[in-house]
Symmetry: C2
Subunit: 84 residues, 2 copies
């Protein structure tokens, strides 16, 4: 693998996993007042479109990163609606 | 342009612009208690690496999307540190 592809994989891992501490914080504190519902709604539509794109171009990285981010966005939307 | 590339561009526009309502909410309410500092720190490192990747593979979409998301992540970090 070219070293620049490793940079891309690390970048994808970081941007995807960045949502984990936000989900954890919302779950732990049972408070999401300051979290934007619009943000996670728009994000979810975006990651689902990325998923369509990834399946179409058969990119495992795009499929994997956006499946996980979609799941985390759904979790945040549930927590937002439950604890706002 | 192939129609699947339009799906990719719409996806990139949505995932990037999703952070705008969060920045606006934090700015308007002057409150970021429920927003995760770790999330935006990890996100910023990730989008900066995506930027390195985009410059290396000369992808204007990757460069543009991650320049804007990096800027929005920096704004959220400033608002988080100011209003937490």
């Amino acid at each position: 693998m070219e070293s620049i592809e490793i940079v891309g994989l690390v970048a994808a891992t970081l941007t995807t996993s960045s949502f984990v501490p936000q989900v954890y914080k919302a779950f732990k504190n049972k408070s999401t007042k300051d979290v934007s519902l619009t943000m996670y709604t728009v994000l979810l539509v975006g990651t689902l479109l990325w998923l369509v794109y990834g399946i179409n171009i058969q990119s495992m990285s795009v499929i994997l990163a956006n499946s996980i981010t979609s799941l985390l966005a759904v979790l945040m939307l549930i927590l937002k609606l439950k604890y706002q």
